[in-house]
């Protein structure tokens, strides 16, 4: 009997365990297996294999029963996820349905999730900007959070490392606010975007309109071909999964790469319940999972553990990992675990018309658009709110048919559409301030279908965000007006936090164990063999999209972890 137990334990023991297989977990899997570690990847959702498990990827528009529209049944059953722009008839299979995985909204919060191998990397919008020193210095400069324990220089080589592998398109713009990366050729501008860029450049020294940086292969390099990925074909139906591997996802890139090493064991349908802490050894020894199919508990063991369940879920796992030594959650001596959660403010937008350039138009589709890096409060504090915002921008031309009339005339008109004028639009991406009052916690009574406490989310905007919305609207109106755009309309849709899908923090990094959970290597200050490298580690949120930074952070941390392991430090 004793022997049997030992055998079972040996069988369930790996060098490393990675929790989650999304954008950050995929990188952890790739790096750890690449460095020779026998790695178990635990993923709560089902397996999704590249190409074969993208059931809608080759469907033509007319093959969808509702031509993409959601049915009333789906919408009624899913009021939260139905708000996500990327959730439609062709992508439903990749999003978590409201009823399946309940959580408690102490304040309204639209939690958008993808529970499957690949996580949200299947449906993301693929925007990938580096963060700059302004982002890592920021909290220390204006005092709104704790100081980051790292700076841009710590991450720069790792940005390069992940960019080369993932395949990032962009232009070298030479901006302080947005460091250049290892870019594949940039996407093309259209004439009205170019016009706006020039107008802005001629009026403002510190405002720039640049081509977006995105995880698309515009020109495959050998490393992409080795991954079995090909040049992006400009289909712009990426969220269904791309059979060409034209964009970066864990499914097309990191996970199969890790599998090729022969060192990875991928276990889908494994809901991690908690991390096991051994008081005698003073370290984490493994994890407990609930098998999603059998609902049986099971334990797996390893020397190091990478937690990559996505920001809020990683908080949940840590909070739920209690022991005599850590009654309030693993590594939570400071009591800050679950607190200082922040996100991005996407509330405001602006749209307008442009009556110039009517002799030109666009041809084809582009899975990307221009971007306006943060220009507020960069070199000095110049407004009455903290931090700033970046913005998306794009222009396009629609062809519209005259739909008046009935019969043969109508038919004739429909088949001979006329080009409309140019329309332009932008939306904001504001940095929100991490506050103690924005937190997640475990509910003491309500459990999820796996017997795990439900997450209670209490996150809201504050007046800093309102001021930022107003400033964005004013500044963009000024810039649009200067560019000769007309019929300018601004909006504030007052969407709930969460719909930005950039939730971060809760297990923030910091220098001081009293005010942070992770050190500069993304290790729990007090449990050195547990590494957390997804959005939960973020000390502040910057205005840039976050995922490229999660990738770089993960690769850096995995490199450190393996070295530390070899030195016997973890």
């Amino acid at each position: 009997m004793a022997n049997l137990n030992i055998d079972a334990r040996a069988q369930n023991t790996y060098d490393a365990i990675v929790i989650g297989s999304g954008i950050s977990g995929g990188w952890a899997a790739k790096e750890l297996t690449g460095k020779g570690l026998r790695t178990l990847v635990l993923e709560r959702g089902r397996d999704v294999r590249h190409v074969t498990d993208y059931p809608t990827t080759m469907m033509q528009p007319w093959e969808f029963d509702h031509r993409g529209q959601l049915t009333k049944e789906v919408k009624d059953a899913n009021p939260i996820i139905s708000k996500c722009y990327a959730f439609y008839e062709g992508t439903q299979q990749f999003f978590v349905k409201d009823a399946e995985h309940p959580y408690i909204q102490e304040k309204p919060f639209d939690w958008i999730r993808g529970y499957q191998v690949g996580g949200k990397s299947l449906m993301w919008a693929r925007q990938t900007q580096r963060w700059s020193d302004f982002d890592f210095d920021g909290p220390a400069r204006d005092g709104f959070s704790v100081d980051w324990p790292i700076r841009y220089a710590d991450l720069a080589p790792w940005y390069s490392y992940v960019e080369r592998f993932a395949g990032i398109t962009g232009n070298k713009d030479g901006l302080d606010t947005l460091p250049d990366g290892e870019f594949l050729p940039p996407h093309e501008w259209n004439c009205v975007e170019k016009h706006f860029q020039q107008q802005v450049a001629s009026r403002y020294k510190d405002r720039h309109v640049i081509m977006g940086r995105a995880a698309h292969i515009t020109k495959p390099q050998p490393v992409h071909l080795q991954q079995g990925r090909a040049q992006c074909q400009h289909r712009t139906i990426c969220e269904r999964g791309c059979p060409f591997g034209g964009y970066f996802s864990s499914n097309s890139s990191t996970i199969p790469w890790a599998a090729k090493t022969g060192k990875m064991t991928l276990r889908p349908d494994s809901v991690v319940h908690s991390i096991i802490y051994d008081e005698q050894k003073g370290r984490a020894t493994g994890v407990r999972i609930v098998d999603a199919n059998t609902k049986q508990m099971q334990e797996y063991y390893a020397r190091i553990i990478f937690l990559n369940a996505a920001a809020l879920n990683s908080n949940l796992v840590l909070l739920n990992s209690t022991s005599h030594r850590f009654p309030n959650g693993l590594g939570n001596d400071s009591g800050v675990l679950g607190k200082y959660v922040a996100f991005h403010n996407y509330r405001a937008g602006i749209s307008a018309q442009y009556d110039g350039n009517l002799d030109s138009t666009t041809d084809g589709r582009r899975p990307n658009s221009p971007y306006i890096p943060r220009f507020r409060n960069v070199y000095k504090q110049e407004t009455d709110f903290l931090r700033g915002y970046a913005a998306g921008f794009s222009a396009g031309r629609t062809s519209r048919a005259n739909q008046n009339g009935i019969g043969a005339d109508l038919k004739q008109n429909l088949l001979n559409p006329e080009l409309g004028g140019w329309y332009v639009g932008s939306h904001m991406m504001g940095e929100t301030i991490p506050k103690e009052t924005n937190y997640v916690a475990l509910d003491s009574a309500q459990k999820d279908p796996f017997g795990i406490p439900q997450l209670k989310i209490s996150i809201a905007y504050d007046d800093n965000d309102d001021k930022m919305v107003k400033d964005y609207q004013e500044q963009m109106t000024e810039m649009f007006t200067a560019a000769g755009f007309t019929n300018i309309r601004v909006r504030d849709d007052h969407r709930n936090p969460g719909l930005d899908i950039h939730e971060m923090g809760g297990a923030r990094m910091g220098k001081d164990p009293k005010t942070s959970v992770l050190n500069k290597w993304n290790q729990l200050h007090t449990v050195k063999n547990v590494f957390v490298t997804d959005g939960s580690c973020m000390t502040s949120t910057s205005t840039q999209n976050p995922s490229l930074t999660y990738m770089a952070m993960t690769a850096r941390s995995a490199d450190y972890a393996v070295k530390a392991m070899k030195k016997g430090l973890v």
């Binding site: 089902r46 074969t52 498990d53 993208y54 059931p55 990827t57 080759m58 469907m59 033509q60 528009p61 007319w62 093959e63 969808f64 029963d65 509702h66 031509r67 529209q69 959601l70 049915t71 009333k72 049944e73 008839e89 439903q92 299979q93 996407h187 093309e188 501008w189 259209n190 004439c191 975007e193 170019k194 074909q233 400009h234 289909r235 139906i237 350039n357 009517l358 002799d359 030109s360 138009t361 666009t362 041809d363 084809g364 589709r365 582009r366 062809s399 739909q403 009935i406 019969g407 043969a408 109508l410 038919k411 429909l414 088949l415 001979n416 559409p417 006329e418 080009l419």
Partner: protein, 171 residues
């Protein structure tokens, strides 16, 4: 293309809830008579000319699917009542069912609905017309033969001259 795609992709078990084969109308909310009427209305809006019209492209089935699956009860009611009202008016106006009217009669009747002072009639007409246009423009026939949709353009050119055709067509 559809066949090729079907061959390429093997659907895993979890996917079966939402393939085209299984998302069938479970409770069609129109009777077959009303469905025929709907087909005739759609055909009047987009008739067969030298190319197929709405009826031949099964646009009415698309409409019924959308109204059944995507619309709420009150919109469905408006829709059903609208169909009944069309029949009633046809009897009044030309003494026979809508389908037996000639093109001019049908067109006149629908035009009357489009300008009706009764909100329900107007709303019904704009629903049917909107869905007819959508179903027609998104049909396989139109997208492959007339508007030449391509899933893979392979490119994006930001500044190309407006094609001569569209310019010459400004009326």
């Amino acid at each position: 293309m559809a066949v090729a795609a079907g061959g390429l992709i093997s659907l895993p078990a979890w996917a079966t809830n939402w393939t085209s084969e299984t998302v069938q109308l479970t409770h069609p909310f129109l009777t077959s008579g009303q469905d025929d009427l709907l087909a005739d209305i759609a055909e009047t809006i987009i008739p067969t000319t030298d190319t197929p019209g709405a009826k031949a492209l099964n646009v009415h089935q698309f409409i019924q699917k959308i109204v059944t699956d995507c619309y709420d009860k009150s919109a469905q009611e408006t829709f059903r009542n609208g169909l009944n009202a069309i029949e009633e008016q046809a009897q009044k106006a030309f003494g026979k069912p809508f389908r037996e009217g000639d093109t001019a009669q049908r067109t006149a009747l629908l035009t009357q609905f489009s300008q009706s002072t009764e909100p329900a009639q107007k709303e019904f007409y704009s629903m049917v017309k909107g869905l007819t246009v959508r179903g027609y423009m998104n049909s396989e026939y139109v997208m492959t033969n007339l508007t030449h949709y391509q899933m893979i353009p392979g490119h994006y050119y930001g500044c190309v001259p407006v094609p001569a055709k569209a310019v010459s067509q400004t009326k």
